[in-house]
Subunit: 401 residues, 2 copies
């Protein structure tokens, strides 16, 4: 029934440079994978006439129009009124939407300010959809053989609502080629691309590369996908941490630790808590993660972890020896079965000729095994830090059975 | 002469999810700062009719229309032809553009394939602009009292070309409507909106609200902006951490610590390192941040921080007493002048009737002062965690002179 999609992003903040939109990219990919290619996108201000006009312009035969943003309770949230205006409909208080809003306000312990109820007013004939990650319900409105879906702009909420709304709208994924995800850590996109070029040709596939610092997902579909995936797994070995689309490196590591009955502790310098934060984003991580230390200063490396003063003087804070002593130290003070440590130069300052910005040492300690690794990472401060987190986690993943 | 801008992003790859566009964000901000607010943006496929139609739709009185993408030599680069079509112009070989292309091909050691000369064909009457970062020249075309500027889509090239093209087009920065940002912590968007409603009416302004967990920015411009900002600052007091658009809460806190000559340590449970990670995202944070501990398990709260076993048994890990003992403990083991601690229930599991998901205790310890705070936070696991980070940081910010 539906064959294509259009996106309409609403919000002054997207056009003022205040917010860096991610919905365009995320939804384009998702919808393409569902067999609903996005054929156009528009970004409009929080001005009802402009939103209405853009909604009307976006309608076309067999099209799903997805509108994000402007769904909240405040007076610059004008999307729902504009949607009603576009179709000459009245806004009506939906009892179902009201229940959703009231339940969520209660769940979140937010009381029930009168302004929140605005989120229960939807165009007559529209359907509200429960928001799994926030308060404002999604809205589905059929219009001829088109359908308009309105979602909050916050990416966490729009991502959580998009599939329930598509289902409510009766949009079914068209027969799409199976997509295989091969999730890797510690490889650079360019290198990976060159490495896999021959395998892609051999299997007649065109893989997609989805990079983030320290982690690259390879995505492949079509006839040769299974053969390609098997070849890649063989070539990359333990640099592949998962073939499940949604399993993070932290979750994959937790899976291995849990099945081996081991606990983990972390000692971080340049990443400043990023590894711990990533690990504790996994619900239930407390069954395998004890905690750790953030030793940002040299003094704390000495006093908390027992790194030797001499080690710091002779080899420096960013060195194999320091990384190993950090990993050893955090195991000793926490009693954990395994540990990992990171020390590096994230920049922009602090680099030298011998140890330029991007120089990172990581170490793992597990049972009787101790290993340290040197990484030369590129990019800005946050790239170096995120890249270092992935490599520390990856080396322990690699080491565990 | 020019008062506003429109953006037109051309390229299948932007709508297929393959490429994550950055031009929208970058140019929106640049143009807003130049006093040329971007009033609309569109993303279209590499289809000449769609590009032409979008160019025509984007024209408006006193508007600068900026088109990016589809300027290269290959056969899916169709923007220039579409631009000519939009105005019923012929493409002509520009001697000036030809020289630019030939010089660049030579400079890059690329020889002179005939296909490259396609980049020297521009609509009659248009002006070519030298590309400092690539081969394809920019194109400036006046159309009535509008101007259309075409740039390559590659961010490095479009960023290098935008200012030369604006100058060639005769666009001068206008006196900009000042925008005031009031950055707050620890307030919920709904409550803030209700709180500021009267002040907004009194000053005849329509503030925008930009929320993220634990932090809401209020944005205001126009005649009444200064009065509104003064009223808001008075009302919210230390819940405002900055009026600088780019200053984060972590930076504002660091500014205070640095000027007071104090150092900070952190003790995190449910946030798992998120506070440390946020702090260490600030370059130079080492001059005021020592580090800290992630005590995710109760055992580590006891062994590393000296939280009393009895405290955990009687009051629980998520309690005023535990938060205070954590803050005290991390000061003792690090020797820092100040500390902050967090312990809470981030969910989805672990909630009880007395302490539902979202219950968070934070504490600060600074000099002789010790304080603990109870928060009831809403939303998903990551919202609770991020909200808790902001509140822990904010309470110390509030306490410092």
């Amino acid at each position: 029934m539906f064959s294509e999609a259009a996106l309409l992003l609403v919000g002054d903040e997207l056009l003022s440079g205040r917010t860096h939109d991610v919905n365009l990219h995320r939804f384009s990919r998702l919808l393409a994978e569902m067999g609903l290619p996005v054929v156009m996108a528009r970004v409009v201000r929080d001005i009802p006439q402009e939103i209405s006009a853009a909604v009307k312009d976006s309608l076309s035969d067999q099209r799903v129009v997805i509108v994000t943003g402007g769904m909240g309770p405040t007076n610059d949230d004008l999307t729902v009124q504009a949607l009603a205006d576009a179709f000459d409909l009245q806004l009506v208080r939906s009892p179902l939407a009201e229940k959703m809003v009231r339940d969520k306000q209660r769940e979140y312990g937010l009381g029930m300010p009168i302004s929140a109820l605005k989120q229960a007013d939807i165009p007559e004939g529209a359907l509200p959809v429960l928001n799994p990650a926030g308060i404002a319900p999604g809205i589905v409105l059929h219009a001829g053989n088109c359908v308009v879906i309105c979602l909050p702009g916050v990416p966490r909420e729009s991502s959580a609502l998009i599939m329930p709304c598509l289902r409510k709208a009766g949009v079914k994924p068209r027969s799409v080629n199976k997509i295989i995800f091969i999730r890797t850590w510690g490889l650079k996109e360019n290198d990976l691309f060159d490495d896999l070029k021959k395998l892609a040709e051999k299997n007649s596939v065109v893989p997609g590369f989805l990079p983030s610092p320290g982690r690259v997902d390879v995505k492949v579909s079509g006839m040769g996908a299974d053969g390609f995936a098997a070849d890649v797994m063989k070539k990359l070995g333990s640099r592949v941490y998962s073939t499940l689309r949604d399993e993070t490196l932290e979750e994959a590591l937790g899976r291995k630790l849990l099945s081996a009955g081991l606990t983990l502790a972390t000692a971080e310098s340049c990443t400043g808590g990023g590894i711990g934060r990533g690990i504790t984003a996994v619900p239930g991580a407390s069954s395998w993660y004890a905690g750790g230390v953030i030793t940002y200063s040299n003094n704390l490396k000495i006093s908390l972890l027992g790194v030797k003063k001499k080690t710091l003087e002779v080899h420096g804070a960013v060195s194999e020896q320091t990384a190993l002593e950090m990993a050893r130290g955090v195991r000793r003070i926490t009693g954990a079965d395994c540990s990992l440590s990171v020390t590096g130069i994230a920049g922009p300052g602090g680099g030298t000729d011998a140890k330029p910005v991007g120089t990172v040492w990581t170490a793992v300690s597990c049972g009787e095994v101790e290993k340290a690794y040197l990484w030369r990472l590129g990019g800005e401060r946050e790239s170096v830090r995120e890249g270092a987190c992935a490599r520390a986690l990856g080396t322990l993943f690699e080491l565990l059975p």
